[in-house]
Symmetry: C2
């Protein structure tokens, strides 16, 4: 049987969010939150538009997912995000007790994952579609230099 709703499928959805961020002049990072194979929240980086550093893709998705559930805890959910979450976003994920984080590209500068900041029950998977995520980021920074 073909598995339609797998990690690649959901990461592609996160990538669409990142693409939207790019089109709107934001650093292209996108996220979706999934519950039982259903996307319940989407977010893309809006720090420029909102003039607000707390408006990372993951943070907006956490808020949206909690609103959907009427519950702050996301321990039955998975986060798909195109860039390794920063310290802030890892700290937020700790509070939500999210079940799984799948991220694409690594962030050498502000990596939060490797600092041991996640909830001990959170499963992590990395590197999925990392090249595509990096290409979006490179396209953004190239356009800024031109």
């Amino acid at each position: 049987m073909i598995q339609v709703y797998d990690d690649v499928y959901f990461m592609k959805q996160a990538m669409f969010q990142a693409q939207t961020a790019l089109e709107e002049g934001e650093i292209p990072v996108g996220a979706v939150i999934v519950h039982k194979n259903k996307i319940i929240a989407r977010g893309y980086n809006m720090t420029e538009k909102l003039n607000d550093f707390t408006a990372h893709a993951e943070m907006l998705a956490f808020t949206s997912a909690s609103e959907y559930f009427g519950n702050k805890y996301l321990n039955e959910c998975s986060l798909y995000v195109t860039l390794e979450p920063c310290v802030m976003c890892c700290g937020a994920s700790y509070w939500t007790r999210i079940n799984k984080i799948v991220y694409a590209a690594s962030d050498e500068n502000r990596r939060g994952i490797s600092k041991g900041l996640l909830h001990p029950k959170t499963i992590v998977k990395s590197g999925l579609m990392a090249d595509e995520a990096q290409q979006l980021l490179q396209a953004f920074f190239k356009s800024k230099r031109e």
Copy 2:
């Protein structure tokens, strides 16, 4: 000359915010952000009301301060908060490059300050009115047990 607008004055304003959180059934944590001796943003913990772990006092104050300035960077501002900021809030403060963080009570469980997560230029002062902040927290947890 009497210094009216000192750290104690601003921490008291943060404490008023925490008191409001307590009255609304939230874990009592309050924050203010100050620019040139003027309070430009206030926040108190709203995680229960908003069903959202990202709604910590500091996060709401960061968003509000950036809105006031029309600028994400808060490097000329000070944050006064009644409890040691958690990992998420320290991570957010890093992005804002806030000049100074003054906090009252320490948080033995989720301390973010001691993990070296702040921006290297951020100055930290702790312990100011710590007893008052702890009393508010104890009052909250006592009321929950009864």
